[in-house]
């Protein structure tokens, strides 16, 4: 078995990121679009950890914490918005929100 290079993790993270981006672009259920964003953020976290290991510094792991906090804040506000929209429109489909009216 060959040794696992940090670049292996970078390659896997690139694939995961693009899967998340594809999900964000093709799905129209707001919840699944949100999960796709979470997947993209997680792919970036994996690159942070792998790069930190390659360079022998701890900063990559610390950056992951900050990404995590921002992602958690985003989920809280985003899901609150989805629930608020659902209460007025009874749909989670983003195409139903194509008109501007306060």
């Amino acid at each position: 078995m060959p040794d696992v290079d940090p670049s292996w993790y970078m390659g896997l993270a690139a694939v995961l990121f693009v899967i998340g981006a594809a999900g964000l672009l093709t799905r129209r259920n707001a919840l699944i679009m949100f999960m796709s964003v979470e997947l993209m953020l997680n792919a970036v976290n994996l690159t942070f950890v792998a790069a930190g290991r390659a360079y022998g510094v701890l900063d990559g792991q610390l950056a992951v914490f900050f990404v995590l906090v921002v992602a958690a804040a985003e989920v809280v506000v985003g899901l609150a918005i989805i629930v608020a929209v659902f209460h007025t429109r009874t749909t989670a489909n983003v195409d139903a929100l194509s008109e501007m009216k306060g």
């Binding site: 078995m1 060959p2 696992v4 290079d5 940090p6 670049s7 292996w8 970078m10 390659g11 694939v15 995961l16 693009v18 899967i19 998340g20 594809a22 672009l25 093709t26 129209r28 259920n29 919840l31 999960m35 796709s36 979470e38 997947l39 997680n42 976290n45 994996l46 950890v49 792998a50 290991r53 390659a54 360079y55 022998g56 510094v57 701890l58 792991q61 610390l62 992951v64 914490f65 900050f66 995590l68 906090v69 921002v70 992602a71 958690a72 804040a73 985003e74 989920v75 809280v76 899901l79 609150a80 989805i82 629930v83 608020a84 659902f86 209460h87 007025t88 989670a92 489909n93 195409d95």
Partner: protein
């Protein structure tokens, strides 16, 4: 050993991600994402990021995904999604562009000439991400960003409370106006 773990959990994470993007039912999508998050936690442990792995399982796979499932249950899961394409050729285009970006990124990471790994000094020791080591850095070098994200968390929680409390009363007023 690490290669075996990488292949097994890499396959699990990719399968989970693809299941999440393609699932019709949001609950299955959430479960797929959960599988991906757990396998990423395994990768963190392999890379000696112990505290990050614990936080990944507790916060992401635990709290965030529970919140997602909670909202899915609140909104209702048996609603079938409209799968027709609003923009023509959207999905084939996404597939082509996605495959291209993956090819470029993997080539940039893996190819010998472009490899970023020679930038790093060879044979460095992987940092051991124990709680003590991470905390020492977090409360000295990263103290200002730490305070900034705590402010961000407060703002986010106030925003969520405001959305939950004040939106219904505004709607009632609109209804009574109409």
């Amino acid at each position: 050993m690490e290669a075996v773990l990488f292949i097994i959990f890499g396959a699990v994470s990719l399968a989970g991600a693809i299941a999440m993007v393609t699932a019709k039912n949001p609950v299955y999508a959430a479960l797929g994402l959960m599988a991906t998050l757990f396998s990423l936690a395994v990768f963190y442990i392999v890379n000696l990021a112990h505290l990050v792995a614990a936080v990944q399982v507790i916060v992401y796979a635990g709290a965030v995904m529970t919140l997602f499932l909670f909202v899915i249950m609140l909104i209702g899961v048996d609603r079938s999604e409209d799968t027709s394409e609003t923009l023509r050729f959207q999905r084939p285009l996404v597939l082509i562009v996605g495959a291209g970006v993956v090819g470029l990124a993997v080539a940039a990471v893996v190819a010998d000439e472009w490899s970023w790994t020679p930038l790093a000094p060879g044979g460095v020791e992987a940092p051991n991400g124990t709680m003590a080591a991470v905390a020492e850095q977090l409360f000295s070098v990263w103290a200002l960003p730490f305070e900034a994200v705590s402010l961000l968390l407060i703002v986010a929680s106030i925003g969520a409370i405001a959305l939950a409390f004040f939106a219904p009363s505004r709607r009632r007023k609109e209804k009574s106006d109409a």
